[in-house]
């Protein structure tokens, strides 16, 4: 009996040995935005789940500043051995084209894209426009009259608003805000509408203080079942903010494959799906192979939009 147990233990150890070659020490996931933000909470949850699978803790460290540039630059400066990860997003393109860093997406290798969040177009609950068509018709008849609060100049929400102008053929007045304050200003009747990530507006939707007229994803959000997509509202536009994990270019393929497995499994699990839904995010997995091409395609779109609003420096 004792022998059999010892044999079983030895077998398990032998099986675990090749996997333990990587990671052989704790990993660090750099988050580009502040502790407690939607980006941060999603990363912390995934780090916890993936760390369990990897057998090494994944520590989340917030390095905020310059729209993500500070954190990207830091991670790129770390050894490319798979232990330094960055919680990546479209910010890699916005920070580069705004001229805030010398690195672009080609400096990194994608591990996996994991979540996506649409942008929500919202008005105050008692606003005269019933749906997105009415709001856009009003904007078309009164160029510049509709003031649309976004989460910062050159931010992803701003870019979606600019794309919306292009596709719907309207002229809007863009007002840059930080997190949450765009909604506050809508509630205070100082501006007509806001474009925000769903997590930033969920409380006001449930409190029936605002109405979401449309979301920019290709399907409706589970957490906002009544809000149609822009396409349903007659605007040919789909734009979502993706988030994923990336490592410095030159990281060994085996390490990337191991990380890809751990993070995609974590993201696909029911625990994370549920967590993400409450933060207004959708699990949207793309493996390492597709991720690089996906980033390149997204980068071209973002470059064009930033060019249009005069923020493109490189």
């Amino acid at each position: 009996m004792r022998h059999r147990l010892a044999f079983a233990v030895a077998l398990v150890l032998a099986a675990a040995a090749p996997a333990s070659a990587f990671p052989d020490k704790p990993l660090e996931l750099t988050v580009l935005f502040g502790a407690g933000s939607a980006a941060d909470l999603l990363a912390r949850k995934l780090a916890e789940l993936a760390g369990r699978d990897l057998g090494q803790p994944v520590t989340v460290v917030n390095r905020t500043g310059a729209g993500g540039a500070l954190g990207y630059t830091y991670v790129k400066g770390q050894p490319a051995d798979g232990h330094a990860l960055v919680w990546n997003s479209n910010s890699i393109s916005t920070a580069y084209h705004a001229g805030n860093m010398k690195l672009d997406h080609t400096a990194f290798a994608g591990v996996a894209a994991l979540t996506s969040e649409p942008v929500s177009l919202a008005v105050k609950a008692d606003a005269p426009w019933k749906d997105a068509r009415e709001l856009l018709a009003h904007a078309r008849a009164n160029p510049g009259h509709v003031r649309l609060g976004n989460s910062g100049r050159g931010s992803f929400t701003h870019l979606v608003a600019v794309a919306l102008e292009n596709r719907a053929g309207v002229k809007l007045t863009h007002v840059p805000f930080g997190r949450e304050l765009a909604v506050t200003t809508v509630l205070g009747d100082k501006i007509e509408a806001s474009v925000q990530l769903p997590a930033e507006i969920m409380a006001q939707v449930t409190g029936r203080q605002v109405r979401v007229l449309a979301v920019s994803g290709d399907t409706r959000l589970v957490s906002l079942p009544d809000a149609p997509t822009l396409r349903e509202a007659g605007v040919d536009l789909t734009m979502t903010l993706w988030r994923g994990v990336a490592v410095p270019k030159g990281t060994p393929e085996t390490a990337i494959a191991r990380l890809e497995r751990a993070f995609t499994q974590a993201a696909n699990g029911p625990e994370f799906r549920d967590f993400a839904a409450r933060m207004g995010a959708v699990v949207d997995v793309r493996g390492a192979k597709d991720f690089d091409a996906f980033m390149a395609r997204d980068d071209r779109e973002i470059a064009a939009l930033m060019e249009q609003i005069g923020l493109r420096k490189q």
């Binding site: 407690g36 840059p176 997590a199 006001q204 409190g207």
Partner: protein
């Protein structure tokens, strides 16, 4: 309402205790802010369920305001942004051997303000929340401008020197990312400077490191404080009596300022200090170690923390990074703050409110005995104490954003702070500029954009117009008065 007693069940009491203890620790340690600490324990709190989980998170939130004054008073290093003004009189009190009194008054002021703000929160939340919404960018710009004008000469002395410091502070605040996003400015191609000059690093340098340098240059200047007897450890009757009016004024001011977006607790502490400097019976002593300079601001920052809960609970709007973490926590626990919170989750709502009462008592009981322990720090000889202060400042600067550049900032700010002292410049107005600079810039641009480029948009609303007019009067009045006095004394 009977749900208020939910806070008294053993699991909730324990959650409250752990939260407030963690909050105190976060407050005491410079560089570790409440938002980061709350994000760290968030996964744990989710497992506790909404009532206990939110009680614990909230405990960290308001508990941090208690501990923030500790290092401000003892070693001239602000523990939290909102405790910067506390250094001015708190540290001088400590050097005079009254560290215990200052620490105890800070704890009592925090308790009074914390308790008052929860009463106000309980009774007036929805009403006050609506009023907070009337504050748009134009009003916020006018408010910040009025603040700059009224508070510039916070510490007395030369008006010109103070204004120069405020302007320098505003200029320094423009380093890094434009507050509305988009472009990075004045970084001289230093990657680390892109996040801007860290507020924690600048204040730790200007106050803490500068103190260390001054002591090194003139070891006789900082003599160790004699160990005090137990009876002298706590505030005497005179000190307590003098603390009451500033405490009450600070509470009301702090609560109101807490309702508006931005670094409310920090602004509230500055406003309270400015008010005491103008109307306190002992205003001449402020700046030299007056207990009013601790009682007022420490009440104000705690009341602001309570005030900040109102927009969160009534409207679901977090105006500070800490309340944003609370909001995330609530959403993850399927509790949506806003007009229906009380209807949908009475247990959670009243449980959290009840825990504020309980938590404030716990914090007082926890902090008063700690006074004796902490007060001994002031009696440590400078040759042992000052190296420790230097380490504390550097660690705080790095911990704030894990950015090595901030360590250079804390050292540089220390050297500049030391030079400023030698030349008779006070660093407090500079910090005011650093806090209000981004607020001014952001609100100014937003107000103009909202008015579609019309400058008149800045004073189109009543409150904004009144505040701007008050700022203009306050700016011109001293010069006019001085001129009038001169011509009266010297008739032509």
């Amino acid at each position: 309402m009977s749900d208020l007693f939910v806070a008294l069940t053993p699991p909730n009491l324990l959650a409250c205790f752990i939260g407030t203890v963690l909050g105190t620790v976060v407050g005491v340690l410079p560089g570790l802010g409440p938002a980061a600490a709350m994000a760290l324990v968030l996964p744990l709190t989710i497992k506790l369920g909404p009532t206990a989980g939110l009680i614990m998170l909230a405990g960290i939130y308001y508990g941090a305001m208690y501990g923030g004054s500790t290092t401000s008073i003892l070693v001239n290093v602000p523990g939290e942004a909102a405790s910067v003004v506390t250094t001015i009189d708190g540290y001088r009190l400590a050097r005079r051997g009254r560290a215990g009194a200052a620490l105890a008054v800070a704890a009592i002021a925090s308790f009074v303000a914390g308790t008052f703000s929860v009463v106000a929160l309980q009774l007036a939340a929805p009403l006050v929340a609506r009023a907070a919404l009337a504050f748009g960018p134009a009003e916020y710009f006018a408010f910040a401008l009025l603040g700059v004008v009224l508070l510039a000469n916070l510490t007395g002395g030369s008006r010109a020197k103070s204004l120069a410091m405020v302007v320098l502070g505003i200029m320094l605040s423009t380093v890094g990312m434009d507050p509305l996003g988009g472009t990075v400015r004045f970084t001289f191609d230093l990657a680390g400077a892109q996040a801007g000059l860290s507020f924690v690093a600048v204040t730790a340098g200007l106050f803490g490191v500068a103190e260390v340098l001054a002591t090194m240059a003139d070891p006789a200047s900082t003599t160790p404080v004699a160990r005090v007897r137990f009876r002298e450890l706590y505030p005497n009757r005179e000190e307590l009596r003098r603390s009451v009016p500033p405490m009450l004024r600070g509470t009301v001011l702090g609560f109101l300022v807490g309702l508006i977006p931005g670094p409310a607790a920090t602004i509230a502490s500055f406003v309270s200090y400015g008010v005491e400097k103008k109307i306190s019976r002992h205003r001449d002593e402020l700046g030299t170690g007056a207990i009013e300079g601790v009682a007022g601001p420490e009440a104000a920052n705690n009341a602001a923390a309570g005030g900040g809960m109102i927009p969160l609970l009534s409207l679901g709007l977090p105006f500070t990074p800490s309340t944003a973490v609370l909001l995330s926590g609530m959403l993850l626990m399927n509790v949506t703050p806003g007009p229906f919170l009380l209807r949908d989750h009475p247990q959670v709502f009243w449980g959290v409110i009840g825990s504020f009462y309980v938590g404030n008592v716990m914090l007082l009981v926890l902090n008063l005995p700690l006074v004796g322990v902490f007060a001994r720090v002031a009696t440590v000889p400078p040759r042992f104490l000052m190296p420790g202060v230097l380490v504390l400042c550097v660690v705080a600067a790095y911990a704030d954003n894990n950015n090595l550049f901030d360590v250079w900032v804390v050292v540089g700010a220390g050297i500049i702070g030391w030079a400023m002292r030698a030349l008779g410049f006070n660093p407090a107005p500079l910090v005011l500029g650093l806090v209000l600079g981004p607020v001014l810039e952001r609100a100014f641009l937003q107000a103009l954009t909202i008015a579609r480029g019309e400058v008149s948009g800045l004073w189109a609303s009543g409150p904004a117009a009144v505040m701007l007019a008050a700022a203009a009067v306050a700016f011109v009045a001293p010069a006019v008065l001085a001129l009038a006095r001169r011509s009266a004394a010297d008739p032509v």
